[in-house]
């Protein structure tokens, strides 16, 4: 039983790293119930599926700052039925899009969100094909309700962020099924910002009335949350550790 359990946790680790892209090492530890997972990367069967990027490694250096991270290898991706190329792009630009999403889904164990493929999102929303370069996340809400959030990772200032949110809203309204889900509160927009300060500024802006227009937060569901970039990930993890220690 213990071995089977071990295998299941390793598989969960592989699927999480494969599905979300690079994940911080400590997220991996948490996925495996807090156990030391260093042995997984030395295990003959698993070491070919998972990589451990850390500053002491000469072959696998950290991907973002000095933060240790776990990635799935092409063999690992193939093993869980995903494309071998899914993890190939580890550029800073690609990481800047992936990391905030994995943080948004995995950082809060009390609110476990799931990243969807574009096919799953269009199935859930009953709409035509959705673009596969946009992230859709399912978020369990209060009263056992589940909603889908179209993720927007903000890398600009507050006013441009708001402008961008408006244009995403307009884009969603063009599809009648999405417009219906938006009006029903089943679809929303998640704005991920790299620092807590920006989160607070954007949150104020979405709740502010602009002239005669209703605040954005009244027009549709909108969640503004932290989504650290490769540059701010180390600080975000440090803050998270402090908060969890309390």
């Amino acid at each position: 039983v213990a071995v089977a359990d071990h295998e299941r946790l390793n598989m969960t680790l592989l699927r999480t790293a494969g599905w979300y892209g690079p994940i911080p090492y400590e997220f991996g530890t948490e996925i495996c119930g807090g156990k030391d997972i260093a042995a997984v990367f030395k295990h003959p069967a698993w070491s070919k599926f998972l990589n451990h990027h850390h500053k002491k490694s000469k072959t696998l250096p950290p991907l973002f700052g000095s933060v240790s991270a776990i990635t799935a290898t092409p063999d690992g991706l193939a093993h869980i039925g995903l494309s071998r190329d899914r993890g190939a792009n580890t550029s800073q630009a690609a990481l800047a899009q992936k990391l905030p999403v994995s943080w948004f889904c995995l950082a809060d164990p009390n609110n476990p969100r799931e990243l969807l493929s574009s096919e799953e999102a269009s199935e859930a929303l009953g709409c035509d094909e959705l673009s596969n370069n946009v992230a859709f996340v399912v978020s369990p809400e209060r009263f056992d309700q589940h909603i889908i959030l179209r993720v927007y990772v903000s890398t600009t200032d507050v006013s441009q962020t708001i402008q961008q949110v408006r244009s995403i809203q307009e884009e969603l309204l063009e599809d009648s099924a999405l417009a219906q889900s938006l009006a029903a509160g089943k679809l929303g927009i998640a704005v991920l910002c790299e620092t807590p300060e920006k989160v607070s500024s954007v949150r104020d802006a979405v709740h502010r009335r602009s002239g005669r227009r209703e605040p954005l937060s009244e027009q549709f569901r909108i969640q503004v949350a932290l989504g650290p970039s490769p540059e701010t990930m180390a600080d975000a993890l440090k803050e998270r550790r402090k908060r969890r220690a309390k």
Binding site: R15, G126, V138, G185
Partner: protein, 454 residues
């Protein structure tokens, strides 16, 4: 139609005191008496009741017991088949409207007429504050200039349009302080601020005269801004009457009964009260005391008493007692004295003169509810003041009932029902909504089960 008005009962003879109706209502009268002395309910009501018998319009300015007067006049109008129009100063009450300058419509308006109308509207407050002076006249000049500009531009004359022109014309603030202030204050009252749009809710003096309407102008005498309202309405009527004379229009008597009138007539106007009879305006004024008038101007009481042909004194004070006694004939009497001296008794007679109406009688009248001294200054020979008793013409119950009824309130503006709330927070949670939720949950659980290997 009654030929005589029954003014009450002579307390000395027990006989009714009667005056020819036309003679009474084609004169001016004044009644002075404290609250509850019977001015309004006994005398005022008696006067109202006579008017439908006359070929005249009735305009009542009421600054006191409004509900009683409102319902009394309303009943009177119903029973006599006359139209009843009401003008309130307070926006809360259901009111007709009046354009105080409507009498200039359709005729060539003279700016001096408008200026004079403005001057008398403002005059009472100005003389109270400053006394008549050079600035009063410069103020009149500015009123005339502003009126001229408005008239030449062909715009409807109204308080707001005159004020606008005056603001543009006046360089020196003192120059038109008086009139500008009164324009602003009068503009505050909705029922007289707008030009006549020809609507049926507007009171027009020509219609009042033609149909012999009964008009109640209700205002709160103790509220400073309301006196501008009442003065503006009164001066509008005065202006209409004067224009009628100038235009040779067929004349109709306007019987003006003004209760608590002291904040209504300017000194300038009061000085010419008697000559207003030539313009078919008859004033019947009621207020509490001479002192009230002294507060407005120390000469106002004296002037108005001189201009009134009939005076009713319900509760005369010292000044009024002297005034009343001056209309009573003197009687001669003798004082017999007896002196004792060393030579014996000495008897002597000394003559003295006193008024027939002595102070004790006046005090008795003053302390009797419903009793008054009537002074008549009519041209058909000398008449001794009469000790008059005015009995109630309505029962106490009717008076209390009318006084307790609420005045008709203007209906609250109907606010359209709020549109149903929109937005995602108020989305209907119908079957489609629930089905969409289930579809999302299914995808979530499938993806989660795959990732966690469950």
């Amino acid at each position: 139609m009654n030929d005589y008005i029954d003014l009450g009962i002579d307390l000395d003879t027990g006989q009714p005191v009667r005056e020819p109706v036309a003679s009474f209502f084609e004169s001016n009268s004044i009644a002075l008496g404290r609250t509850r002395s019977g001015k309004t309910t006994r005398l005022g009501f008696r006067l109202f009741r006579q008017v439908p018998n006359l070929d005249a319009a009735l305009v009542v300015f009421e600054g006191g017991e409004t509900p009683f007067v409102y319902y009394a006049l309303s009943e009177l109008a119903k029973s006599s088949g006359r139209e009843f129009r009401v003008l309130f100063d307070h926006p809360r009450f259901e009111s007709h409207r009046l354009d105080p300058f409507h009498q200039y419509r359709g005729i060539r308006a003279w700016d001096i007429d408008v200026g004079n109308q403005l001057f008398n509207t403002a005059g009472i407050h100005y003389t109270r504050a400053y006394g008549p002076s050079w600035y009063g006249l410069t103020s009149l000049r500015q009123g005339v200039r502003s009126s001229g500009v408005v008239i030449r531009q062909g715009a409807p004359i109204s308080f707001p349009s005159l004020l606008e022109k005056m603001e543009a014309l006046v360089r020196d603030a003192r120059d038109a302080e008086q009139i500008r202030f009164s324009l602003e204050m009068a503009s505050l009252h909705e029922s007289i601020a707008a030009p006549d749009d020809g609507g049926p809710d507007f009171i027009r003096w020509s219609e009042v005269a033609e149909k012999k309407q009964i008009v109640l102008v209700s205002y709160e005498a103790s509220r400073p801004s309301s006196s501008f309202f009442a003065a503006a309405v009164h001066q509008s009527l005065v202006s209409y009457a004067h224009l009628g004379t100038a235009l040779g229009r067929k004349k109709t008597w306007f019987i003006i009964i003004a209760d608590e009138w002291w904040s209504l007539l300017s000194l300038t106007y009061a000085q010419s009260l008697a000559t207003e009879l030539k313009h078919f305006l008859s004033h019947h004024l009621l207020n509490q005391s001479r002192s009230q008038l002294d507060l407005v101007d120390e000469r106002l009481a004296e002037i108005v008493l001189n201009e009134a042909n009939f005076e009713f004194h319900f509760t005369p004070d010292v000044k009024s007692q002297e005034h009343i006694q001056s209309f009573s004939k003197e009687t001669e009497g003798s004082l017999r004295t007896r002196t004792i001296s060393s030579t014996g008794f000495a008897l002597s007679d000394r003559e003295y003169r006193e008024r027939k109406l002595d102070v004790n009688q006046l005090l008795e009248i003053s302390s009797t509810p419903g009793a008054a001294i009537l002074v008549r200054k009519v041209p058909d020979g000398f008449k001794e003041p009469i000790k008059l008793y005015l009995d109630h013409e309505i029962s106490e119950e009717v008076f209390r009932h009318w006084s307790s009824l609420p005045l008709p309130l203007r209906p609250e503006p109907v606010t359209p029902p709020a549109p149903p709330p929109t937005g995602w927070r108020h989305a209907p949670q119908d079957d489609a909504w629930r089905a969409r939720g289930e579809a999302i949950r299914a995808v979530y659980e499938r993806r989660r089960a795959w990732r966690l290997g469950q």
